[in-house]
C-alpha cells in the first residue's frame, strides 16, 4: 500500500563507459516493468538519493533496462562509482512517453544532441525493431555532440550506419585530427542536409535546452508545423507523480503530463523551462 514512492532494488549487470562523464548502466528488466519509449524512471542510489533518468533501452529489449547517465551532481557521482553487482533502486516508469500512435505511418526525423540521444535511442530501437519497422516510413537521424569524444552510444551508431533503411548523419561542433565526418552545429547541419519536403514527416528533437530552441526554430523555417515537432523537456523532478511541484509549468507537471510535448503544446505554455 505504501509502495508509491518505494523503489525496487536491482543489481547492475553491466556498465558501458560512453564518454569520460557518461556511463550506461544495464539492469535486469522486471517482468512487470512495462514502459513506452520516452518515459523515465527515478533511480535510487542508496545513501546518495534519487534522480530521474530517461530509459535509454527500448521496450522491445525484453531482458534488460538501460539508463545513460551524465556525472553532474551528488546522485550521479555516486552512481558512477558503482559497478556490476552493486544494487540500485528504480521506481517508475513515469511520464507520458512518445506519442507512438501519432507517429504511425509517418516518416521520422530524429534530431539529438549530446546525452539527449538517450530517450531518442529508446524510440529509434523501438521503431527499427522488426515487428514495428513496417509501421513507419523513412527514418532520418541527425546526431550531434560537442566533440568526437563526446559521442555516445557508439556501438549503436556503428550498427545504424550499416543499415540501409535509414539515413544517419553524425556531426560535431568541433572536430579533431581523426574526425572525418560532419562538423557544424546541429540546427545548421539540419538545414543543409535535410532536403525532403516536410509533409509526411514528424520530427523528434532532444538535447540541451539551447539546441532544442534553435533546432525548433530551424524546423519551423523548414516548414514543419508545430504539431509535428515533438520534444522532451528537462525539469528538476523528485516524485515523478505530479505532486512534488518543482516541475510545474503552467497547469502542467512535466513529470506526469510530459516530459514529451509537441511544439504546439509548448507554445501554449509559459516559457519557464
Amino acid at each position: 500500500m505504501l509502495k508509491t514512492l518505494y523503489p525496487l532494488l536491482l543489481p547492475i549487470e553491466g556498465v558501458v563507459e560512453e564518454t569520460k562523464d557518461i556511463k550506461t548502466f544495464r539492469l535486469p528488466r522486471p517482468e512487470s516493468f512495462l514502459y513506452r519509449p520516452g518515459q523515465f524512471a527515478e533511480v535510487f542510489v542508496p545513501g546518495a538519493g534519487e534522480a530521474p533518468f530517461s530509459i535509454s533501452s527500448s521496450p522491445t529489449d525484453m531482458e534488460y533496462l538501460e539508463f545513460s547517465v551524465k556525472r553532474l551532481g551528488a546522485v550521479t557521482s555516486a552512481l558512477h562509482r558503482l559497478g556490476p553487482g552493486d544494487f540500485i533502486g528504480i521506481r517508475g516508469p513515469y511520464g507520458n512517453g512518445f506519442p507512438l500512435e501519432h507517429f504511425s505511418g509517418s516518416h521520422l526525423l530524429f534530431v539529438g544532441g549530446g546525452i539527449g540521444l538517450a530517450p531518442l535511442r529508446s524510440l529509434i530501437r523501438y521503431v527499427l525493431h522488426p515487428s514495428h519497422r513496417s509501421s513507419f516510413g523513412e527514418v532520418f537521424i541527425l546526431y550531434g555532440a560537442r566533440t568526437p569524444r563526446d559521442l555516445v552510444f557508439r556501438r549503436d551508431l556503428d550498427a545504424l550506419q550499416e543499415r540501409r533503411d535509414l539515413t544517419l548523419c553524425v556531426t560535431v561542433d568541433e572536430g579533431d585530427a581523426s574526425w572525418e565526418g560532419q562538423v557544424g552545429l546541429v540546427p545548421r547541419v539540419l538545414q543543409d542536409i535535410f532536403t525532403f519536403p516536410p509533409s509526411g514527416w514528424k520530427s523528434i528533437v532532444c538535447g540541451p535546452p539551447i539546441m532544442i530552441k534553435f533546432t525548433i526554430k530551424a524546423l519551423v523555417e523548414m516548414g514543419f508545423v508545430p504539431g509535428d515537432i515533438i520534444t522532451t523537456l528537462e525539469m528538476k523532478m523528485k516524485c515523478g507523480l505530479g505532486k512534488c511541484g518543482r516541475c510545474n509549468i503552467g497547469p502542467y507537471y512535466v513529470c506526469k503530463d510530459g516530459p514529451v510535448f509537441s511544439y504546439e503544446e509548448l507554445l501554449r505554455m509559459p516559457e519557464e523551462y
Partner: protein, 333 residues
C-alpha cells in the same frame, strides 16, 4: 441562507469540559475565534503538519552483509481530532485531498494519516484584516452538511452534527436565533467580493508582465508563507544517512532558489520575481485551470507570518489591474 435548525446550544462550561476530554488539535486561526481553548493543544504551524508532516520517513535502507536492504516505515499514526476554520477545511478537502487522494496515484502516506483524522469546522463570526475567503469562493460559515460545525455565540456555543450522548445541549432560543442572523448579516455586509471567474485565464495572460518585478521586490524568498500555507503541498525527497539511513519526505518551497535548480546548474526559476510569480500563478491560475478550484483559500496566514508584510491578495489585485490595462483598445471594457 444558512439554517441553524439542526443544531443545539451548549453552555461554555460544558464545552470547555468536553474540550478537556477530547483534547483536539487546534489551529492558531481557530484559537483566535475560540479563546477558551487552552494553549497546549495548538498546532502552531498549520493542521497540515498532522497529514503531511515536514519530516515523513518513507523507508529505511541499510547495508548489511554486503547487500542493501530496504524496509518500509510501517508506523501507524495516532488518530487525531482537529478544529478547523472554514477556510482550512476547504484547504483540506478541496486542495490537499484532491492532490494527494483524488489525483492518481493516491499518496499512501497521506492516506494513512487522513484516514485517522476527523475534524469539526468552527465558523467565524468576524473577518480579520487578513481574511479574504469570500474572494476565493469561501465563506466564514461554510461547511458541508455532514460536517461537525461549531459557532461561538454569547450564550454558549452552537453545535451541529454532534450526538446528544456526546455532549448535552439545548435547542436554540429566540435570542440565539437572532444572534445567528445578526452574525450572518454582518458578515454579509463586510464580505469582500469574489474574484472574477475569468481570473485564472487573465493572470495566465500576464505571465510576461513587467509588473512582477516590482511586486516581488520586498519579498525575501524565505519559506514562511509556503510553510504556513494550509494548501501548499510541494515536497522534497532527501536521504538521511549513508550506509544506514532513511528516505525522508520534507516540505519544500517554490520560494527557494534550489527548488528548481538542475544538476547542470540551469535554473528555470532562478530569479526572485520568477519564483514569486510561480507562487501567485500556481494558486490563482495554474491550479484552477487544472483542478477547477483556486489553490488559495484566503485564510491570510501567509500575510500574518511574512517578515515584510507581503500580501498575495494585493499581488493578484495589481496583476488584475495590469490585465485590464493591457486589453486591446477595441475591447468592450
Amino acid at each position: 441562507m444558512l439554517s441553524f435548525d439542526r443544531g443545539m446550544v451548549v453552555s461554555w462550561e460544558a464545552f470547555v469540559r468536553w474540550l478537556g476530554h477530547v483534547r483536539p488539535f487546534v489551529t492558531p486561526l481557530v484559537r483566535e475565534r475560540l479563546r477558551v481553548i487552552p494553549r497546549d493543544v495548538l498546532t502552531p504551524v498549520t493542521f497540515k503538519t498532522l497529514l503531511f508532516p515536514p519530516r515523513e520517513h518513507l523507508y529505511h535502507y541499510s547495508f548489511r552483509e554486503r547487500r542493501w536492504e530496504l524496509c518500509l516505515e510501517e508506523s501507524s499514526p495516532e488518530p487525531a481530532f482537529l478544529l478547523l476554520a472554514p477556510c482550512e477545511a476547504r484547504a483540506l478537502l478541496d486542495v490537499l485531498d484532491r492532490v494527494f487522494l483524488e489525483e492518481p496515484p493516491t499518496d499512501a502516506y497521506y492516506r494513512r494519516r487522513r484516514e485517522r483524522l476527523t475534524f469539526a469546522v468552527v465558523g467565524c463570526t468576524f473577518f480579520e484584516t487578513t481574511c479574504f475567503c469570500t474572494r476565493v469562493g469561501g465563506h466564514p460559515l461554510l461547511h458541508r452538511a455532514e460536517d461537525l460545525f461549531l459557532l461561538p455565540l454569547s450564550s454558549g456555543i452552537y453545535l451541529e452534527g454532534f450526538e446528544r450522548k456526546v455532549i448535552e445541549g439545548r435547542p436554540l432560543a429566540l435570542q440565539d436565533r437572532e444572534e445567528t442572523e445578526r452574525i450572518a448579516a454582518s458578515l454579509e455586509s463586510q464580505a469582500p467580493s469574489p474574484f472574477p471567474s475569468s481570473l485564472p485565464e487573465k493572470l495566465y495572460g500576464e505571465f510576461e508582465s513587467r509588473e512582477w518585478e516590482s511586486i516581488a521586490w520586498p519579498c525575501l524568498n524565505c519559506g514562511a508563507c509556503t510553510f504556513f500555507c494550509p494548501t501548499c503541498f510541494c515536497f522534497d525527497l532527501a536521504v538521511d544517512g549513508k550506509l544506514r539511513g532513511t528516505m525522508v519526505r520534507t516540505w519544500d518551497s517554490c520560494m527557494f532558489p534550489k527548488f528548481t535548480l538542475h544538476a547542470s546548474s540551469h535554473n528555470p526559476r532562478g530569479r526572485k520575481e520568477q519564483r514569486v510569480r510561480q507562487r501567485v500563478l500556481h494558486k490563482f491560475s495554474y491550479f484552477p485551470l487544472r483542478m477547477g478550484a483556486f489553490g488559495c483559500v484566503g485564510c491570510g496566514r501567509c500575510l500574518k507570518v511574512c517578515p515584510v508584510g507581503w500580501s498575495i491578495q494585493e499581488a493578484v489585485e495589481r496583476m488584475m489591474c495590469c490585465a485590464q490595462d493591457s486589453l486591446p483598445a477595441s475591447s468592450p471594457y
